[in-house]
């Protein structure tokens, strides 16, 4: 939906000077970041630097309090009408979020539904897809993440890796134009990380636009089109993953990378 006079944007996300605070605590101090259609943008940074908060601003789960955040050609949380921005109603927020999939660190599968019902839930209750059709589509999405055999299990009967793959299928069932991942593998046992990353790689290869907050540097290097380093609520630097990892231009980035990379590289060299 374009308000008159606004240009359609090939950038799916265009953040400029985004600010956000929890009460007195300033969490985002002017974030500038763009994500073009079809790109995979990885975000790294120390704990508490505001990565999750920024991701949650993108789909309107947290309010943007300053600057401008345009997502899918809309100013998140506001519509321009008669020369003013009018705040969205809960309904407008809901309509906006249909186009954006989100995958959480702790999966957040609906505990009272089976895997299949979790995936069918959005189409049935949000898009109004007939139940039969939704079930067929849900099954296809479960097949795609390799879980067709587990369709009737409840979340607590699945491993963490399987739960996260169901969560990805649930988001994909809405046919989103943008997928947000908030540390999707951080809560997983190490041997389960790869099965989730494989699904995400598949998605990236199909051209899905993705913003991925992660500590998996190898994934960022291999799959990411861009790598962004966050600290203290601002983007410290952004670049092509290989260049940024090999040649960080800021001391902050270098310090962070060595703390993340070195324990791992020591393992790899052994």
């Amino acid at each position: 939906m374009n308000a008159p006079g606004e240009q359609p944007d090939k950038q799916v996300v265009r953040a400029s000077g985004v600010r956000m605070s929890y009460g007195e605590v300033q969490v985002l101090n002017g974030v500038d970041l763009t994500v073009a259609a079809g790109e995979v943008s990885c975000v790294i940074g120390p704990s508490g630097s505001g990565k999750s908060t920024f991701l949650r601003c993108i789909n309107g789960l947290e309010p943007v309090l300053g600057g401008s955040l345009r997502v899918l050609d809309q100013e998140v949380g506001h519509t321009l009408r008669g020369g003013r921005y009018h705040p969205w109603t809960p309904k407008e927020f809901a309509a906006f979020r249909r186009n954006i999939g989100m995958v959480f660190q702790r999966f957040n599968l609906f505990a009272h539904h089976s895997a299949l019902e979790n995936v069918a839930c959005g189409p049935v209750h949000v898009l109004g897809t007939p139940a039969d059709r939704a079930r067929v589509l849900a099954m296809e999405h479960l097949e795609r993440v390799g879980l067709a055999d587990h369709a009737h299990k409840r979340p607590h009967q699945l491993s963490g890796g399987q739960q996260q793959r169901v969560a990805i299928a649930r988001a994909l069932a809405m046919n989103p134009a943008l997928m947000l991942f908030d540390e999707p593998t951080s809560a997983l046992d190490p041997e389960l990380v790869d099965e989730v990353l494989e699904v995400m790689k598949g998605l990236a290869a199909e051209g899905m636009t993705m913003v991925v907050v992660t500590h998996e540097i190898a994934f960022a290097r291999e799959v990411g089109d861009w790598l962004t380093f966050f600290a203290d609520g601002v983007v410290v630097e952004r670049g092509r993953p290989r260049e940024l990892l090999a040649n960080p231009s800021h001391e902050r980035t270098r310090a962070f990378l060595s703390s993340v990379l070195h324990p791992k590289e020591r393992q790899e060299s052994q």
Partner: protein, 302 residues
């Protein structure tokens, strides 16, 4: 207790002695003796006419009273449950006026005796001789005589239902708050509105906590309805009391009423057991009725 002999390494068997729980036997004997004596004092009481008990147990007015008691209990419980959910949702609303009103409601109805509320509703006509429902600024509307609306039955249902709602709202609130916040976030992220999230995701999960106490609420409601006799609601207790006021067989009719209350409680307890078993293992099958699962998995749900 072990009865099989103990076999040692060489294959020799030694029997296990039997333990006599003398203390248990003694305690049981004393308790039985006391209970038997009390039962005898009542059963063999010359002032108690068991023939009358038998005569009235299936008396027409007693049976109709039983039926009205069940009706009032079911309707008041239903009213209490539905209203309780609404009050709980208001209580949790961000709107301070709504949540303030809900808090006041809960405080008011928990703070006044249910007996007082029953008499209040029954006598509402003193405050409002007629009730008018009218579209503002027009002549369209309907009017009732309050005394005709507020019969013993309706005031019983209102009094008991509104009262239960206040207690039940707190149970619902606890159930809703026990649902992990991540469920709400996931629901919003899928594009659900707050109301849909509540109905489709949160409430069904809250039921696991909300359902078990509802059985108890209903059982206690069956007996609380006996208070209705102050407003002559034609329930079991009202009818029993009207009979004994006429024939002065107070004890006999209290026994008749008690037998029926005990039977109703036993049936309700049995149903409650089934409800809880269903909810213990399969927390949310009940919502399948109109829920997503029933529509998606008709075969699995059957």
């Amino acid at each position: 207790m072990r009865t099989e002999p103990i076999t040692d390494a060489s294959g020799r068997q030694t029997p296990v002695a039997r333990t006599w729980h003398w203390g248990r036997w003694l305690a049981a004997a004393v308790a039985l003796a006391v209970a038997a004596r009390l039962a005898y004092l009542i059963v063999a009481n010359p002032n108690l006419d068991w023939g009358k008990v038998a005569e009235y147990v299936f008396h027409e007015r007693i049976l109709s009273g039983v039926w009205v008691t069940i009706e009032i209990s079911v309707l008041a419980t239903a009213l209490g449950l539905i209203l309780g959910v609404l009050v709980a949702i208001m209580r949790l609303a961000h709107n301070p006026v709504l949540s303030g009103l809900a808090t006041f409601y809960i405080w008011f109805f928990r703070g006044t005796p249910v007996l007082v509320q029953l008499i209040f509703w029954y006598n509402l006509a003193f405050l409002f001789p007629e009730m008018v429902l009218k579209v503002p600024f027009t002549m369209i509307g309907v009017k009732w005589d309050t005394n005709q609306v507020m019969t013993g039955f309706t005031s019983a249902m209102l009094g008991l239902g509104l009262n239960l709602a206040a207690y039940f709202a707190e149970t619902v609130r606890a159930g809703i708050q026990a649902v992990d916040n991540g469920q709400t976030e996931a629901a919003y992220a899928l594009g659900m509105t707050p109301a849909k999230r509540m109905r489709v995701i949160v409430l069904p999960q809250a039921l696991r906590i909300i359902i078990p106490p509802t059985g108890n609420e209903f059982i206690s409601m069956l007996k609380t309805t006996s208070l209705v006799y102050v407003v002559a609601g034609h329930d079991l207790m009202t009818n029993a009391s009207q009979i004994y006021k006429a024939n002065n067989r107070i004890m006999e009719l209290l026994i008749v009423a008690s037998l029926w209350y005990m039977l109703m409680t036993a049936v309700a307890t049995f149903l409650q057991g089934r409800l809880e078993r269903r909810f213990g293992s399969e927390a949310v099958r009940l919502v399948r009725g109109g829920g997503l699962a029933a529509r998606i998995l008709p075969k699995a749900a059957a």
